[in-house]
Every structure is written in structure tokens, then in C-alpha cells.
């Protein structure tokens, strides 16, 4: 039985700037973000993380003062914008809206789960995946057809109108209102007093 071949790494990626802790934190953050996008395919996930961190590391060389987590997040966002641009017919959308539309479409067609290798891969976009994304739309309401619904006054009749006018006048004169309340109270007391004699 022959001995297994030694492990050989395909790339030479090793961040040459920044601490290991900072790159570990960046790794965890990208991983969390991909998981939040429901990218549960570990193989695909790890490929994406490496790609993103490589890009971030290259930028870190030029901007060593930047935090690797921030750079990695920016690279993820840039990758997503480009990918959504390729998947969606969204040239007219501003970048931040493109990501919004893209994520909504992805969510509606369960893209991350149904096409586990498609996420952020702009070289291999399955035709059925593209069709599903294009077909996904979320409509909170149908087209508006505006109607006018204006309250019309109700003629309350002479007695009620008079009562309403009186009450509104009372509301304008709080002292009068209080006096009236006291009068009612005193009247009730007097009534009970008389009744119990």
C-alpha cells in the first residue's frame, strides 16, 4: 500500500499584514454573513471566504490602517453588487438598491438553497437560476386607483346640534364646566339628603 501524497495548497494566500486575530475575526464575520445569506454549502462557503479574504488582504497591503473585518465586508459587498448586476437586469438601479433587489429576489426564489453553488459565482450562472431570480417579485399592494372618500357632515338634528354647541362652549370655558360639575354633585347630595329624611 503506497503512502498518501503530502498535502499541497493550491494557492500561496497568507495575509502578510495584520494580526492573526484580526484575520480570524474577519474570517468569522464573512462566514457569519454568508450563513446569514443561507449559504450552507460548506465547500462553496469556504471557497468564497478565501476569495474574499484574499481580496481584502491585497487591499490591506495598501491600507494597513484599515481593519481586516471592514475590508472583508467591503469586498463581500463589492462581490455581491457585481454578482447581482450580472444576475439581475438592474443596470438602472443605484448600487445600494441593486443589493436590496437582488437579496429580495434571492430570498423569494430560495436561491441560496436551491442552487447551492451559484451564490456569488458570476462565471457559472445556471439558466434556471437566472430565470427564477428574474421571475421573483414582491408586490405589497396592487396598482393604486385613487378614490375620493370625503366625510360629509351629518345633520344631527336641532336638539343634538344645540347640545353640541353648548358642550363645545363649555369646553372653551373650563371654569364654567367645573362649576356645572359641582352643581350636579351638590344637586345629587341634596337629592339623597332629601330622600333619606
Amino acid at each position: 500500500m503506497s503512502a498518501p501524497a503530502l498535502v499541497t495548497f493550491s494557492g500561496e494566500f497568507r495575509p502578510s499584514t495584520g494580526s492573526m486575530e484580526a484575520w480570524n475575526a474577519a474570517y468569522v464575520r464573512v462566514e457569519d454573513y454568508l450563513r446569514a445569506h443561507r449559504v450552507h454549502n460548506r465547500l462553496h462557503q469556504s471557497r468564497l471566504i478565501q476569495e474574499i479574504l484574499e481580496r481584502a488582504a491585497r487591499r490591506h497591503l495598501a491600507q494597513p490602517e484599515s481593519d481586516p473585518t471592514t475590508l472583508a465586508a467591503e469586498e463581500t459587498e463589492a462581490l455581491m453588487d457585481a454578482w447581482f448586476g450580472a444576475v439581475l437586469s438592474s443596470e438602472n438601479l443605484p448600487p445600494e438598491r441593486r443589493a436590496i433587489e437582488g437579496r429580495v429576489a434571492l430570498m423569494l426564489c430560495d436561491g441560496s438553497e436551491k442552487w447551492p453553488y451559484a451564490f456569488l459565482d458570476d462565471k457559472n450562472i445556471p439558466a434556471d437560476f437566472r430565470a427564477a431570480v428574474e421571475a421573483s417579485s414582491m408586490q405589497a399592494g396592487p396598482d393604486m386607483v385613487v378614490s375620493s372618500m370625503v366625510p360629509r357632515p351629518i345633520d344631527l338634528g336641532p336638539i343634538t346640534e344645540a347640545a353640541g354647541d353648548t358642550l363645545e362652549r363649555f369646553e372653551q370655558w373650563p371654569i364654567l364646566r367645573t362649576l356645572l360639575l359641582w352643581l350636579v354633585f351638590a344637586g345629587a347630595l341634596a337629592g339623597i339628603f332629601y330622600a333619606t329624611r
Binding site: 423569494l108 378614490s147 372618500m149 351629518i154 336638539i159
Partner: protein
């Protein structure tokens, strides 16, 4: 099948029906007034006695109206049903054409699972009728709690995905909750009303079967002069003893009252605010509500809009029908006495406002009567209280005064047209009143016992009778408690005050009201009952025994309230077969499905405790999909420079400090601003851990490790 034609119900025939109905009320009230006047008028009549007599007339007439409705209902049902019903215009299997109909469900901080699972059941039920193309569904949200709002959005998307509902089920969240429910419906009508011929208004706890919805729409198509058809929702899903009592009473007694109401109302029925179909165009044209004179609570915005809308529809010449016989319309009742009183507090204020409209020009007499009955539903409580208090004072006066020699005492004799019968007058009157209060219940039980199939649905003869006796006893104990509640609500409304409430405890055992809440809520009633009882007993023991049914409810209101609120007792009663309803013994498919779905929903663990209070905000910021969905649903706005600056400060504070110190208003403001939500999502995920608050670090950690297979909010 008898086909009802409108020309059968001539105005003359309708007038005859109404003459009989109102004459019966008048006759019974006159008879009772005779006894009461005779009781009071043995030694002349004093001012106090005149007031007592006046109150008695008003209160007895109110009882008599209920009794006569039931009596007429009995007459109708005994004849095999009224042929003048709106449902008679269509045969049960008639495949009539339908028209575009919107099912609208206004919601305000409701249990999201219940709302959307209810909607799922309704949607599926309509789908099964194969008439789905005629119906669209709208959730109209006025929820102003951040968690609630985000949860609603997530639930809406998930529901649409699962049932293929995009383009059929819509979600609308108002930024400003103007005019509450009626404003919410009016907002819908202004935006989309023209797209539909009818709308069915549902409450958040309503369920209607597809068959019922299709039938209602067909009935509207069949009767182009009808503006509203109101169904009679059955109260279902009661768990606590209180809820099951209400459900049982509603199911057993309502057929009699519904038949009676339809007999004299006909096309001048009422609208109860939900589980009804409405013709949209006339509603838009005539039912926009103006403000009442003065300010709230007595004036201002009309709170109980439904009765007024029915009156306005009628004024414009459109028919309003009650279709109590349509099956498949359900709602849920309050689980406890205290929750029921909270609901009454709201309704009381709204119904009291209707006093303004009693003399409104152009309203039909039938609508005035509905409005008056609405007012009396609450105003009768303080009147009863006053009547009882004055009676007590009157008795005190009689005790203090020795009887005149030679005068026949009312407590020994009854006088009818000068003939003396050796039965105490008060006892005669007492039994007469009891007859009016309890005969409809007895008749309902007897009618049901005569139908073996119906008896089976209530759990059998013995269980039905035992349940009815227990329900009667419970309602007798609850009546004085409700009287005290309503008297307080009316008084506070008249004084322009709101009523404060202790927030209901929904503790770990989730088993009804707790003692603290019950003591605070019913303490005053208990004290009132004890003082009243003691003073009555000291002055006149016989009077104390007359008052004892009222006093018992008040004195024991705390334990009664606790006892009835227990879900465990409710379940036990169900096991024993007490208060069974047809919906429990033979639940319709839709109700069964709803219960199963809800059980599934509630099995999920609640969010991690430290994150729970702001879970909605957390999802909307953290979760890429929830964030995108939320932003996509927001209207694009261009805030002013000042607003932009304020939002900038607010969102930086949110990331640096966490949401703990944010007010609900600040959280809502951020959630309403699309730019801020995009910024927060981006900044949160790109900020190093030490630059964000501990709360956010915990949120990121927890969000992805809650389950072994990581899931996002849309699957929780």
C-alpha cells in the same frame, strides 16, 4: 326551496311585523310598570318613588326588547324559519357569478402567528372553492410596535411564498394611524377601493370559510340593492372557562335572537364591524365619517363606526341585511372577565357617542333603534346601579317609618285591577322579570332538545342541560360585576376621563388572570358589595336576601374572575363535556387546520431573552433578507437636511450603544427610514467587533448558532 322575492316583503307587511314586535315590548313594559307602580303607590307616591318608577320603565323596556326579540325568534324558528331572509335569494348549490372582492383584515399589534395562520386558512379555504381568482387579501397594519411590524412583514413574505400568494395577498403598513380601524379601512378604499366591487372586513381573530365568502359574494351579486350583509360569527377557540362560557352561550342562544332580529329588521339591519361583506362604491360615497361636536371621549372622532356606517348606508337607500344562518363565520372572544371589561371600555366610549346621532336627520327609525340599543347596552348599567341604590334608600325609609294602620302592605298582597291576591307584590314582579330574563334561555334549550342532531353536537341531553344551568348561574353572578364595570366606564366617559388599567400578566404558566391584577381590578367592587350588603342586612334582613344575587357577584368578584380565567379549568370542563359547542364536538376543517398550524407555530422557541425586547429591530438590521425585504417595502423619501442629521446621530448611537435606551418612537423612526436601514446593515456587518455595542456582538453570535443548521428569521 322557497325563493324569497322582495315584493313578498311589502312595506305594509314589514310594518305589521314591527308593530307586533314593538307593541309586545310596550305591552310587557306596561304590565310590569303597573305592578311596580302598585308596589310603590300604596301610601301615596313620593318624589323618590317617581324617580324609581321612571328608571324601572326604561330598564324594563330594555329587558323586554331582548325578550321580545327572542320570543319572535322562537315563533319564526317554530314555523320552520323565516322565508324573508337574504340567504333565501340564492339556492345553496347555486353556482352564481361572482365579482372582484377584497378580503381586508385591519390589524393593530395582534398576535402575528394568529393573524397570518388565520389568513392562511381562509386563503386555502377559498382556493378549495376554485373561485380564488375573484378574491384578493389585504393585511392592513396599524401596528406601532417595532417587533410586531417586522414580524408581520416576515410572516407575510413567508405566507406568500408558501401558498403562492404574491399578487393575491397584500400587506400595507400605514405610517400614521389616523382614525384607527375605520381610518385604516378608509385608507384602503382610497387607494384600491375602485379595483373591487365588494370587500369583506375581518377582525384579526376572524375566520371565514371559503364557502361562506363565496356565498356572501354571490348574494351581493344576486341582490344589487344590498349594501351590507352581516354574518353572525360564532365564538370559537375558547380555552379558559370564561371564554368557553361565552362560546357556549353564543352558540346555544344566538339562533333565537338572530331569527328574531331578522324578523323585524329585514333590510334595515346593522353592521357589527367585521365578518360582513360591503358593496364598496356606495360605502365610499356615503360612509366617510365626520367628527362629532366637542372633543373626545364623548365627541370628536367616531369610535364605534360600524353602527353609524350601517345607518349611513340605509340613509342612502342601500339595504343592510343580517344573514345569521350563513355557516362558516367565526371569531374569538376575550379569554378572561378582565380582558372582556377592557374591550367593553373601548366599546362603551364608542357606543356612548352614538347618543349624538339618535336624532340625526335622514336616519331610518330602525337605525335609531340600533343606536339607542347600543347606548343602552352601557347606559343601562349606571341606571341599574342607580335604581338599586335608590331602592335601598327607599327601603331604609320604609323601615324607619312604621306602616300606617289599615293600608295593605305590598310585601303581602298583589293588586291587579283592584283585585287583591295574597302573593307579595314584589315577588310577582320578581318572577315576571326572571321570566323575561331566563325564558329565552329555557326556550333555546327546549328547541335544541327537540333536535337530536343538534343535541349530539352539544354533547348530549344531560350535558346540554347541565351546561345551560351552570351558564345561567355564572351569568347571574357576572351580571352585577359587568354592571359595575360599565357604570364606571359610562361615568368616566361622561366626565371626559380615560380608565387606567393594570397591564395583564401573562406569566410562565399562562393560566389566566393573576391575583394581583384581579384584586386591583375587582377590589372596589368587592368593597362596594360588602358595605352595601352589611348595611342592608343591618337595616332590613329581608331586603338583604332580595339583594343577595347582586351582592354575591360583587363580593366574590375576585375569586370568580380568577376561577373563570383558568385555562386548566376550561380544559377540565371540556373533558367533562360541560359547555361543549358544535364547533368543539364537530370542528369545521378550517378551525381544525388553524389549531394545528398554531400549535406548530407556538412550538418554536421564543428569541433569546436578552435580544427579545428588540428582536424585530435586530432582524431588520442584521438579517440580509429581512433588511432587504423591509427596505423594499418602505416608501422612498427624501428627508430634509435636519432630519438627515438627526437620523445620522441616531443610527450611530444605535450601533455604538445598542437599542436598550432607544424609545419605541426612535426605533420606529429608524425603521421607517430606508436610508438608515441600508446604512445600519452595511455598517453593522463591516464594523470590527470592538466598534459595536455588546448587544450587537451577542446578536451576531446568537443569530447564527440558534440551531445546528443555521436558519434565518424567515424560517423561524
Amino acid at each position: 326551496m322557497r325563493v324569497f322575492k322582495y315584493d313578498q316583503m311589502t312595506q305594509r307587511r314589514l310594518n305589521r311585523r314591527r308593530f307586533l314586535f314593538f307593541s309586545a315590548i310596550f305591552g310587557l313594559t306596561s304590565l310590569a310598570t303597573w305592578f311596580m307602580a302598585d308596589l310603590l303607590w300604596r301610601e301615596g307616591i313620593s318624589g323618590l318613588e317617581i324617580v324609581l318608577l321612571g328608571l324601572f320603565v326604561v330598564l324594563f323596556a330594555h329587558i323586554a326588547a331582548g325578550f321580545c326579540t327572542a320570543l319572535v325568534g322562537f315563533y319564526v324558528l317554530n314555523r320552520g324559519g323565516d322565508n324573508c331572509r337574504i340567504s333565501e335569494t340564492l339556492s345553496p348549490n347555486d353556482d352564481s357569478p361572482l365579482a372582484s372582492t377584497a378580503i381586508v383584515m385591519p390589524v393593530f399589534n395582534e398576535d402575528v402567528s394568529r393573524v397570518f395562520e388565520g389568513l392562511r386558512v381562509i386563503f386555502r379555504s377559498v382556493q378549495e372553492t376554485k373561485k380564488l381568482e375573484h378574491f384578493d387579501f389585504f393585511i392592513l397594519s396599524d401596528s406601532n410596535r417595532p417587533n410586531q411590524w417586522i414580524q408581520e412583514e416576515v410572516a407575510w413574505v413567508e405566507l406568500c411564498k408558501q401558498v403562492g400568494g404574491f399578487g393575491k395577498i397584500f400587506y400595507r403598513k400605514r405610517r400614521h394611524q389616523i382614525n384607527k380601524k375605520s381610518g385604516n379601512v378608509a385608507d384602503f378604499l382610497r387607494r384600491w377601493g375602485k379595483n373591487y366591487r365588494y370587500m369583506v372586513v375581518l377582525d384579526a381573530d376572524s375566520i371565514m370559510t371559503g364557502r361562506a365568502l363565496v356565498r356572501l359574494t354571490a348574494l351581493m351579486e344576486q341582490n344589487p340593492q344590498v349594501g351590507i350583509i352581516q354574518t353572525a360569527p360564532r365564538i370559537v377557540h375558547g380555552e379558559s372557562l370564561y371564554a368557553r362560557l361565552q362560546s357556549f352561550a353564543n352558540r346555544l342562544y344566538s339562533p333565537l335572537f338572530l331569527a328574531g332580529l331578522n324578523y323585524w329588521q329585514q333590510h334595515e339591519g346593522n353592521y357589527w364591524g367585521h365578518n360582513a361583506i360591503i358593496r364598496i362604491q356606495p360605502f365610499i360615497d356615503h360612509c366617510a365619517l365626520p367628527d362629532l361636536p366637542g372633543s373626545e371621549p364623548f365627541g370628536g372622532r367616531i369610535l364605534s363606526h360600524d353602527f353609524v356606517e350601517a345607518a349611513l348606508m340605509r340613509r342612502a337607500g342601500w339595504g343592510v341585511w343580517l344573514a345569521g344562518e350563513i355557516e362558516g363565520s367565526f371569531e374569538e372572544g376575550p379569554p378572561t372577565l378582565i380582558e372582556s371589561a377592557k374591550r367593553d371600555r373601548r366599546w362603551c366610549q364608542g357606543n356612548m357617542q352614538h347618543a349624538w346621532l339618535l336624532t340625526a336627520r335622514g336616519f331610518r327609525p330602525a337605525n335609531r333603534f340600533h343606536l339607542l340599543m347600543g347606548v343602552m347596552a352601557y347606559a343601562s348599567s349606571p341606571l341599574w346601579l342607580l335604581f338599586l341604590a335608590l331602592s335601598t334608600i327607599h327601603v331604609f325609609g320604609l323601615v324607619a317609618q312604621p306602616p300606617l294602620a289599615g293600608v295593605l302592605r305590598a310585601q303581602d298582597m298583589t293588586s291587579i285591577f283592584g283585585f287583591m291576591i295574597e302573593v307579595p307584590e314584589a315577588l310577582t314582579l320578581f318572577f315576571f322579570t326572571l321570566l323575561l330574563l331566563f325564558l329565552p334561555k329555557v326556550v333555546s334549550v327546549v328547541l335544541t332538545l327537540g333536535n337530536p342532531e343538534a343535541v349530539g353536537r352539544f354533547g348530549g341531553r344531560l350535558r346540554l342541560v347541565v351546561s345551560a344551568i351552570l351558564e345561567t348561574a355564572a351569568s347571574a353572578l357576572l351580571a352585577p360585576v359587568n354592571m359595575m364595570f360599565n357604570a364606571k366606564f359610562v361615568l368616566f366617559t361622561l366626565l371626559g376621563q380615560g380608565v387606567g388599567w393594570v397591564t395583564q400578566q401573562r406569566g410562565a404558566d399562562d393560566d389566566g388572570s393573576d391575583w394581583r391584577e384581579a384584586i386591583i381590578t375587582h377590589g372596589g367592587q368587592t368593597a362596594f358589595g360588602v358595605i352595601w350588603g352589611l348595611s342592608s342586612y343591618i337595616i332590613s334582613p329581608p331586603f338583604f336576601w332580595w339583594l343577595s344575587p347582586v351582592l354575591a357577584g360583587l363580593v366574590f368578584s375576585i375569586p370568580i374572575s380568577i376561577f373563570l380565567s383558568k385555562a386548566s379549568f376550561g380544559r377540565r370542563a371540556r373533558e367533562l363535556g360541560v359547555f361543549l359547542t358544535p364547533e368543539e364536538t364537530h370542528p369545521p376543517y378550517e378551525l381544525k387546520r388553524l389549531q394545528q398550524n398554531l400549535a406548530e407555530c407556538y412550538r418554536h422557541l421564543p428569541p433569546f431573552e436578552p435580544l427579545r425586547a428588540n428582536y424585530g429591530l435586530m432582524q431588520a438590521v442584521l438579517d440580509p433578507y429581512v433588511n432587504a425585504m423591509h427596505v423594499a417595502l418602505l416608501r422612498q423619501r427624501r428627508p430634509s437636511d435636519e432630519a438627515r442629521e438627526w437620523f445620522g446621530l441616531l443610527r450611530r448611537r444605535l450601533l455604538a450603544e445598542g437599542p436598550g435606551k432607544f424609545t419605541s418612537k426612535e426605533t420606529m423612526a429608524l425603521l421607517l427610514d430606508a436610508e438608515s436601514m441600508i446604512w445600519l446593515h452595511r455598517e453593522l456587518w463591516s464594523s470590527p467587533s470592538d466598534a459595536i455595542a455588546e448587544w450587537w456582538r451577542l446578536a451576531i453570535r446568537q443569530y447564527n448558532v440558534l440551531t445546528s443548521a443555521p436558519t434565518t428569521a424567515l424560517y423561524r
